[in-house]
Amino acid sequence: MSEQTGSTSVSLQFKKVIVALFAVAFIAAVVMVGLIERERAKPEKAAVFHADEKSQQCINCHEEKHIAVNWIRQWQQSRHAEKGIGCIACHEAKKDDKDKWEHEGFLVTHVPSPRDCYGCHEKQVEQFENSHHAKASNFIGSLDNILGEVVEGGPAANLGCKQCHGSTVALDDKGVPVAGSWPNTGIGRKNPDGSQGTCTACHTRHMFSKQQAREPRTCGRCHMGPDHPQIEIFEESKHGIMFTAFRERMALDADEWIVGKTYTAAPTCATCHMSATTTQDLNHDVGIRIAWTLRPLVSKRMEDWEAKRDRMKGVCLECHAQTWVNNYFRMYDDAVNLYNNKFAIPAQNIMNKLTEAGKLESTPFADPIRWTFFELWHHEGRRARMGASMMGPDFTQWHGFYEVAKHFYAKFIPEAEALLPGVSKEALDMPEHAWKQGMTEEQIKQMLDFYQNRYGQSIE
């Protein structure tokens, strides 16, 4: 061995020293990796954050007492934290504020409102305040509200209706919100500072994320269920299927989110109703592209509906061609008109006649037929129209028009006739209802021609 290595023994020793040095260097590098990993693993280090002096005091105290610390963690991962928008920027109250609360030497509010967001997000708040979203709690006196508050009972309304529509936040004499009115992130919440709405309905505190607001599930928190199942309709539609299949291509966390530019895989609720396209800016007024109101008993065109329809068509045209878009909206309008003319208006007329004849109690929901009528338009009727509006075939048909027809013919008309015989004759004499009398082949053909002429299947 020695004869083989004799002349290199010195350099071998030297090499061993270098091996040792590099081994130390490598271990040091791995230790550095370990340190970086440890820092990365801390949730609060996931984002760079800055807190002003006052906010840092809030953080220190909350950390020390372990009160709502996860809100701090979430805030630390927010864009607000990156930009140095701390607790105080949103929670600080002034002496004259109704909702001021003396807290550890600071005047703060429990309920930051869009007015607090306005300081930095002026345009967004103004757009939002013009929207139906901001007015969602103005439903006092509506049938829904009587149902929730009176027929069902207040506690149900507090945790049901008002969690989506928004409560009127009430304060005790110290400025602390009282149970029943708060906690509440309903989108049309009436705030103590007089403003209406809450941005955190969609951009949940304390991450205030754009990504979350682009998620269909965020809208689905309220837009779901038997009376407005938009999220289920979306999931049933091709749009929803594409979203589910390719959600990783949606770039939901992108700073600038433009359909046709940032992403092309699928639209979400936000895409069609609010978000930017290659020709339109983002707008926080959710109704800016909605031409029909599908909420009431009889659907109506919205004010300035042509412009709104054009905006919606503009979104569609990011992916679809003109003929496709025009034909689709024609079919949608026909479906809404069919519901209005064939079921909603006749049913309303029948109810009016029953009222005039004194056959109904004055209190809403006091008669069985009022429940039938309510569900006819409020549940099934909306499902049919909303299914048509968002291309959900099963919601248009089986959850929608089928249920409308079934309850109209098999429940509503018999109940109305039982109360006032002959009350439905005028309605049933309409050509749309002639099938009930039995039809010859010739009459069936005439009926189909009638539908074709009235609702059309021609291309615009």
Partner: protein, 370 residues
């Protein structure tokens, strides 16, 4: 004798009985004489790719635990590895930079072999295997880069396969083999994945085994020795007792001398790769979007020279040039051998080599700056 047997631990006796190999043969193999010029760091470039291959295999296995080779999930799984998994960013960055260094190390090794004439008789076949290893390394780079499935990677793969399709005879067939269809489709990613973690590693290990085997039986070329010595494998020199012996003034032992050098290289590479991972973590762009072709599509830097050549020439000329260059590279030892038989002592190879290296470098820099 009986006393000696008692000293052998039980587990070793068990092992020796069940694996009855002559340990002395291994000892002998470990004493492979290594020419003194190998003490120079420049001559460690052959071992460097092997070390990097080890790192790539290890980190590659770890990445495969979490990588999902499906168009829907590939980018998300890489993102998860990079951002969510403990040490994932480090392992991925080691693999990323290891791949880059591998191409550099293989190229430098080839340049060294070329300019020292180490490919000459009787080592021509080993040069050809080496060219095969370069191609496999580039294949690893191409398929691995495609697996990331971000915009750059997706479109680089698409364009890369489209270029390959233009090759005469085998091009369309090779493109279909890679894509699993006439166009890039969900099967393509699976195929690239299978090439990356199955076919190419197998091919590479076989080629490396042959490469090392031929290197060992020929012995390492002595740079300063006359051709007669170079053409005589060192390992067959035996003394009267049949033991291999060599001149300690001219050679040193593979173990422990050279292996220590390789250990230094290995530790240096690990440290260097880790530092690269810390300072320049492996990037991850936006998810691949087959509907949106980026404005500027570029392959990985090691394909820049070919890409520039493609941009400079019409397609038939590009393909002709590539085929000619490939042919010259593979059969270079024989081409030069024939030339030297006509003009003994000619060093024209130096000129050809220098011109080739400079051209490749020029194209690389040109493309990088464009």
């Amino acid at each position: 004798m009986a006393e000696r047997k008692r000293r052998i631990p039980g587990w070793l006796r068990f092992l020796r009985e069940r694996v009855p190999v002559n340990v002395e043969v291994f000892e002998e193999l470990s004493k492979e004489p290594v020419p003194n010029h190998m003490k120079n760091w420049w001559y460690c470039l052959g071992g460097t790719p092997l070390i990097l291959l080890g790192i790539q295999i290890l980190t590659g296995i770890l990445l495969t635990f979490y990588y999902v080779p499906s168009p829907d999930a590939a980018h998300a799984s890489v993102d998860k590895i990079t951002r969510a998994l403990p040490f994932g960013w480090w392992i991925r960055s080691l693999h990323h930079w290891g791949a880059n260094l591998m191409v550099i190390a293989v190229t430098l090794h080839m340049i060294r072999v070329f300019f020292t004439g180490a490919y000459r008789k009787p080592r021509e076949l080993n040069w050809m295997i080496g060219v095969g290893l370069l191609i496999v390394t580039l294949g690893f780079g191409f398929t691995g880069y495609a697996l990331v499935y971000d915009q750059r990677s997706y479109w680089a793969a698409t364009v890369g396969i489209n270029i390959a399709e233009q090759a005469p005879l085998v091009g369309p067939w090779a493109a279909r083999l890679l894509r699993g269809g006439a166009t890039v489709n969900p099967t393509t990613l699976t195929r690239l994945f299978v090439f990356h973690i199955g076919a190419l590693p197998t091919l590479m290990l076989i080629l490396v085994a042959f490469h090392v085997f031929l290197m060992r039986i020929h012995g390492i070329m002595e740079i300063d020795a006359p051709p007669a010595v170079q053409e005589t494998p060192l390992t067959v020199k035996e003394d009267r007792k049949g033991k291999r012996r060599f001149d300690p003034d001219r050679y040193f032992a593979f173990f422990p001398d050279h292996i220590t050098t390789e250990m230094i290289v290995a530790l240096f590479l690990l440290t260097f790769l880790t530092m690269l991972a810390i300072v320049f973590p492996a990037p991850l762009g936006a998810p691949a979007n087959p509907d949106e072709t980026p404005l500027h599509i570029k392959p990985e830097w090691y394909f820049f020279p070919i890409f520039r050549w493609l941009k400079l020439t019409p397609l038939p000329l590009f393909m002709g040039g590539m085929i000619l260059a490939g042919f010259a590279l593979v059969f270079w030892p024989f081409l030069e051998g024939a030339w030297r038989r006509r003009r003994p002592g000619s060093e024209a190879a130096m000129l050809v080599g220098a011109a080739s290296v400079l051209t490749v470098l020029l194209f690389l820099i040109w493309e990088a700056l464009s």
